[in-house]
């Protein structure tokens, strides 16, 4: 048994300068947008664990609308067609704006 809670990659931020940390952090936030479809109705913090309705339940209420977000086929407010952000993540365009050419800390979210 070894008590390793997070991987070496996860803990790599301790080796970064402040500027490098900011760059990787911002890049990580942008890359994480790929899962917005999946966690649209979840809460990372606080006392609200589940959305106030369950997707797919007959007669369920729709989630709250957000200004500027269009409604997708599943009747949920979104800013772009479903799957667009995931597609962009799988087939990225120009190279990442930030960070040196090194292994990226693993996404532990």
């Amino acid at each position: 048994m070894t008590d390793e809670f997070l991987s070496e990659e996860d803990l790599d931020p301790c080796n970064l300068s402040w500027e490098e940390l900011l760059a990787w952090w911002d890049l990580g936030l942008h890359q994480a947008q790929a899962t917005n479809d999946l966690d649209e109705h979840t809460y990372s913090h606080g006392v609200f664990r589940t959305p106030f309705h369950t997707r797919g339940r007959a007669g369920s209420s729709r989630p709250p609308a957000c200004k500027g977000w269009r409604r997708p086929p599943t009747n949920l407010p979104r800013s772009e067609p479903a799957g667009t952000s995931l597609q962009a993540a799988l087939f990225p365009g120009p190279a990442a704006r930030y960070g040196p050419d090194r292994h990226h800390p693993a996404w532990a979210g």
Partner: protein, 262 residues
């Protein structure tokens, strides 16, 4: 600049009102980049909450289902949730004034420690307490946070590692005896590594159950609010945040208890 640091600077213009906590605080502790939503502990006063709302209003934020960002509900342990789109980012902002499992003394000390810090974020102990959630993935962070703590007392109270606890016990026998009443798992150190590791897992499950029970209390208390939310959200959809907030507070006053009760 990272959006959560930008927001923190705006929240704290001319006065410390907001301390970064949870996932983004873990980043600032140089642990994994592991969360994409922002969370802050706010000062529990009207000026602070009004200022934060004004900042969010300028960003075009809207409420998600949750409690109003109002002292009356924050005082009861509720959380408030808003979000906005910033270029390519979906920005979620989560707020509370009374983080779970953090004593008022610890909270007061947190505010003192955060003065002058840039950016201000929760220390390892407060963050470790907040990470005792009902989600198993939060507990590895407690393990790593304990390794950042310099005080052996804190390490003994928070470590998730059987090896680390055995080593600490060897060097601090008196302290261990003092702390056993505060953390039962410490009494299993004498039973060896395997037994201690099992006890640590059971301790985690107990913590998860305790937080799940706490969340259930809030879920039950917010049942009427959940039923009212769909209609309310359509009403406030096109409103500026300040007007949406007023409408939410008016309705919540009738439907959402200020404190959940068992």
């Amino acid at each position: 600049m990272v959006i959560y640091l930008e927001l923190t600077a705006e929240f704290n213009q001319s006065r410390l009102r907001a301390v970064i906590c949870s996932g983004q605080a873990a980043v600032l502790h140089r642990l994994a980049i592991a969360s994409k939503d922002g969370a802050w502990i706010l000062r529990e006063d009207e000026e602070a909450l009004d200022h934060v709302l004004a900042v969010l209003g300028r960003h075009g934020a809207c409420y998600r289902f949750g409690a109003p960002l109002d002292v009356r509900w924050m005082r009861g342990g509720w959380s408030s949730h808003l979000e906005f789109q910033s270029a390519a980012l979906r920005v979620r902002t989560d707020f509370f004034t009374r983080p779970p499992r953090v004593s008022s003394e610890e909270l007061s000390q947190m505010w003192l420690d955060a003065e002058g810090q840039d950016p201000p974020f929760t220390g390892a102990r407060v963050l470790a307490e907040m990470k005792k959630t009902d989600r198993q993935r939060d507990y590895p962070f407690i393990g790593e946070l304990a390794r950042l703590m310099s005080d052996p007392r804190d390490q003994l109270l928070y470590s998730r590692s059987a090896d680390d606890l055995i080593r600490l016990a060897e060097g601090h026998a008196d302290l261990l005896r003092e702390l056993v009443p505060l953390r039962r798992v410490l009494s299993r150190i004498r039973d060896g590594r395997r037994a201690l590791a099992e006890a640590l897992q059971l301790e985690m499950l107990d913590s998860m159950d305790a937080n799940a029970a706490r969340i259930e209390l809030f879920r039950t208390a917010s049942a009427s609010w959940a039923r009212a939310w769909p209609k309310l959200s359509h009403e406030i959809d096109a409103l500026p945040l300040s007007q949406a907030h007023s409408r939410i507070v008016t309705l919540a006053d009738m439907v959402l208890p200020k404190e959940p009760r068992p």
